[in-house]
């Protein structure tokens, strides 16, 4: 990974994000509110996901209806969605969704993009004016592909090149923030209740084979749209309910590999761990589940010799990617979805099935509201992954 390493200033734990202003002192010498990235904000949450195994596309309305049932698990300070299969006409291009603070940030960012990518299409992301959603930044979408000469010069593969450019914008261009960068998928998020965020982005007008949703209950005011979830890198998106106790062990380990955790959120570090294990280390999602929610040693000891060896290897090799503390997460990726609980199951998560469609949610009510006649409803055990691949048998 040439030039991949970014010197993280270990000693200065307060990270600043390019898009958000530094802490400023008012005239009366009091601190203004710290924002996401300057302070670590624990959150409670609601999550929901729907996937059609045969790849049939559905409207985004269902996921809005689902998450809206869990309104009391959010507090209006963050909501968002990830949608897969929504850009079939541009499926070979990276869809960059970007928040801008100002037109000058947009100019600077677009100049950077033009230097590194062929921009096939660009537009404002359509939104609906509504009183529940305020203070919106400029929200733009670009369909791009890396410039062949730049890509060749970088000696990187296309995905690494794109990921690096995303990091570059997010850490170096003040006032610009790429919050979605996958192919044929997109993240839509804002400060507000998730159902309002869905209507704001007109999600019902998109059609995809998989959606995930997140409603956030942060314990102080992030006040910044980039801090809402899902968090995404390339086609990996994560929605997460919980507060992981391994955060700083995970963060400090992943920052060795060129990632920079600017938001100080669990979701961000989990996304980077998924990207690292799947894209860079080539682990399967099953293996990833065995790393981040590893079986206890006492469980491993009861396994067959062959399985013991594999699990021991994964735990020793990727010990710094073990995640402890409560979490339920939905990991979206190209062609599938994985749901996973922490190994003690300290957060609720329910799975429902009807024909080709799989529903996952923090609460069963959020599934029943959109599909009352389920064929199967169950709660996965702690650390037991539910992996759904399109046209496959992940369950």
């Amino acid at each position: 990974m040439p030039n991949a390493y970014m010197h993280s200033s270990e000693s200065k734990l307060v990270k600043t994000n390019a898009m958000i202003p530094h802490i400023t002192r008012d005239n009366d010498n009091t601190f203004t509110q710290q924002k996401e990235g300057q302070v670590r904000i624990p959150s409670g949450c609601a999550i929901a996901g729907i996937i059609n195994k045969s790849g049939k596309r559905m409207s985004g309305k269902a996921i809005i209806d689902s998450i809206s049932v869990m309104r009391d698990r959010s507090n209006g300070l963050g909501g968002g969605f990830a949608a897969y299969g929504i850009y079939p006409e541009y499926k070979d291009y990276y869809a960059l969704h970007i928040f801008y603070d100002s037109t000058s940030a947009k100019r600077e960012c677009e100049e950077f993009l033009e230097h590194h990518f062929d921009i096939i299409n660009l537009s404002k992301i359509p939104t609906r004016k509504m009183k529940e959603i305020t203070d919106e930044p400029l929200i733009w979408r670009y369909f791009v592909t890396p410039l062949p000469t730049k890509l060749a010069d970088s000696q990187l593969d296309e995905r690494e090149f794109t990921a690096k450019c995303v990091f570059r914008v997010n850490t170096k261009i003040n006032g610009a923030y790429v919050f979605s960068s996958g192919k044929n998928m997109g993240v839509f998020k804002a400060v507000g209740y998730p159902e309002d965020v869905g209507r704001f982005y007109k999600l019902d007008e998109y059609e995809g084979y998989c959606f995930t949703a997140h409603g956030r209950y942060p314990t102080n005011t992030p006040g910044w749209w980039g801090g809402a979830h899902p968090f995404a890198l390339l086609d990996y998106s994560v929605v997460h309910n919980g507060e992981i106790s391994s955060y700083d062990a995970n963060r400090r380990a992943i920052e060795m590999y060129g990632y920079k955790c600017t938001l100080q959120t669990d979701t961000e570090v989990i996304t980077y761990i998924i990207d690292y294990l799947h894209r860079k280390k080539g682990l399967s999602f099953n293996e990833i589940a065995s790393v981040i929610a590893a079986p206890f040693w006492q469980t491993i000891e009861c396994m067959s010799q062959k399985k013991q060896e594999i699990h021991k290897y994964l735990r020793v090799m990727f010990s710094a990617q073990l995640i402890t503390g409560p979490f339920s997460i939905l990991i979206g990726f190209e062609g599938g979805l994985m749901a996973l609980n922490d190994r003690l199951k300290l957060r609720s998560m329910v799975v429902g099935e009807k024909e080709d469609t799989v529903y996952i949610s923090s609460e069963e009510a959020a599934i029943r509201v959109i599909e009352p006649n389920l064929e199967k409803v169950w709660s996965p055990k702690g650390g037991q992954p539910v992996i759904i691949h399109l046209n496959g048998s992940g369950l």
């Binding site: 390493y5 010197h7 993280s8 270990e10 000693s11 200065k12 734990l13 670590r40 624990p42 959150s43 409670g44 314990t219 919980g242 507060e243 992981i244 106790s245 391994s246 955060y247 700083d248 062990a249 995970n250 400090r252 380990a253 920052e255 060795m256 590999y257 280390k281 080539g282 682990l283 293996e287 590893a294 206890f296 040693w297 006492q298 060896e309 594999i310 290897y313 994964l314 735990r315 020793v316 090799m317 010990s319 710094a320 073990l322 995640i323 402890t324 503390g325 409560p326 190994r343 003690l344 300290l346």
Partner: protein, 501 residues
């Protein structure tokens, strides 16, 4: 007797109403501080001979004895305190280097005591180790960069040799010679029962103890005493001792009077001749030489055993560690300036080296910044005094800790810091047969097991409080730490926030 200007530091106080003149104190004190006066049928004491080891206090059946600080004082002077003045007197008389034992006792900051741990409240649950699994198992060794798969897609085991411990604590190196046979037996048996390791130190391995090989780390120091192929292959790992926290830059010296019998045979040194460990290894004058020794030892053991390089925490420790991480070594052991010793020049012990907390934090940070942290595991010692110190060290970034003084205390040591005299009343740091037999290994090993079982319970409780149920999620998790009363620079080096932040 010539005037030597010295007045005893301690005073033995005997309660004559309680004393039954059983003369146990007299028999127990190798220093002959207790004397029976036949004519008067009375016990008297010579305070000047007392080292304050508490052997007599502990064994007095009527609790008639106590040792108190001698109230005698020089004219008060902040600059010239009593100890400083006495040391001048002693050197003026002897013309020699002052010798001391055990760790630096001076009033330097103890950073572990200025770091506080976190616990869960509301936003995530604490975990009860009595109800849920709580994992303290640790693996030490190099981790490869990439995974490999066979042609069927199965992951291949490409891990270099790893050593597994039930908890992140090991017994640090103490040589046979510096401590007794019974002390070594206690450590070896405790390590076996606990599923951890003890360390031979530089004096070779007594033939009786080869049976504890699965729980033994063998040490190779600059004197190469007792090093031969069978020795190297007898343990689970090999430690190259480059330095020791109590005396960085200094070698060792076991006087010929202690090189007798089994010790002579184990060390492969003729009886009665001094065993001198040079300050440097004379085949290691630079980092590339270290690499050659690492690989020589690996060749000798067929690449089946991880190699540990132990260094003292000195000013440039982060850069040295970075070099060691690229030397082929699997584990680095860092010994802080509070680390113990059987004998060291006082001026070295009290003035050289740096605190282990700062050394650990800067090494861990440096290795991460250079993306070589996975090349090597970090073990720290000098001094780990409790389970809380273990937890704090792991959260700062250590993989494991070394304890030695704590282990000796469990065996009965009272930290009188007189090991260099060879007259340990507790049978630990001595080779005098009648003293050695005072330490019963059947009891000694059990006390060590008790100590570390207690620590393991406490470690689990602290982890559970933080909502962490596996030790690997504590490793380097500095967000779980807060400093109290530390300045900005100290917090920066430790990589932690101040309490309240």
């Amino acid at each position: 007797m010539a005037i030597n200007f010295l007045h005893p530091y301690y005073e033995i106080v005997r309660n004559y109403e309680k004393c039954i003149i059983c003369r146990a104190c007299e028999r127990q004190c190798i220093n002959e501080a207790h004397i029976y006066i036949q004519d008067k049928l009375q016990m008297v004491c010579d305070d000047a001979k007392c080292v304050n080891c508490h052997r007599c206090v502990s064994l007095c059946p009527t609790r008639a004895l106590k040792i108190v600080r001698n109230g005698n004082t020089y004219k008060e002077n902040v600059n010239w305190n009593g100890r400083t003045i006495d040391e001048i007197y002693r050197q003026a008389e002897s013309g020699g280097v002052l010798l001391s034992s055990m760790g630096n006792p001076e009033n330097y900051p103890i950073y572990f005591d200025k770091i506080l741990l976190n616990a869960s409240q509301v936003t995530n649950p604490s975990i009860d180790p009595l109800r849920e699994p709580m994992e303290t198992k640790v693996f030490l060794g190099t981790k490869p960069t990439d995974i490999e798969r066979d042609k069927n897609g199965y992951i291949k085991n490409n891990l270099p040799p790893q050593i597994a411990l039930s908890m992140p604590v090991m017994f640090s190196a103490m040589s046979y010679g510096s401590i007794s046979y019974n002390a070594h037996e206690s450590l070896a048996r405790a390590a076996e029962e606990l599923g951890i390791f003890y360390n031979t130190g530089e004096g070779g391995l007594h033939e009786d103890f080869y049976r504890y090989g699965k729980n033994t780390i063998v040490q190779v120091a600059s004197g190469r005493f007792g090093v031969h192929p069978q020795y190297l292959n007898s343990g689970v790992a090999i430690e190259i001792k480059m330095g020791q926290g109590a005396k960085p830059g200094i070698g060792g010296h076991l006087p010929g009077t202690k090189i007798i019998g089994d010790i002579s045979r184990t060390r492969m040194v003729p009886e009665g001749s001094d065993a001198i460990s040079p300050a440097p290894h004379h085949d290691i004058y630079s980092i590339e030489d270290l690499r050659q020794l690492v690989y020589s030892l690996k060749e000798a053991t067929d690449y089946k055993k991880p190699v540990i390089v132990k260094i003292a925490a000195v000013h440039n420790v982060a850069a040295i560690a970075s070099g060691i991480a690229r030397s082929g070594a699997d584990i680095i052991a860092i010994d802080g300036f509070r680390g113990g010793t059987g004998a060291a020049p006082t001026r070295i012990r009290d003035n050289v080296g740096i605190p282990i907390e700062l050394a650990l934090a800067s090494v861990d940070t440096r290795l991460r910044n250079e993306n070589i942290r996975n090349n090597i595991s970090i073990v720290v010692g000098g001094s780990i005094r409790s389970s809380a110190d273990v937890v704090k060290a792991i959260a700062l970034g250590a993989d494991c800790t070394y304890i030695a003084t704590s282990a000796l205390l469990a065996l009965g040591c009272h930290l009188c810091r007189s090991c260099h005299t060879g007259k340990c009343n507790w049978g630990i740091a001595t080779q005098v047969p009648e003293l050695v037999k005072r330490l019963n290994p059947n009891i000694g090993y059990k006390r060590l097991v008790n100590l570390l079982n207690a620590w393991q319970h406490e470690i689990k409780e602290m982890m559970g409080g933080m909502g962490i149920n596996s030790i690997e999620s504590l490793k380097g998790n500095r967000l779980m730490l807060r400093g109290v009363g530390l300045n900005e620079k100290e917090l920066e080096i430790l990589g932690i926030k101040h309490a309240g932040e």
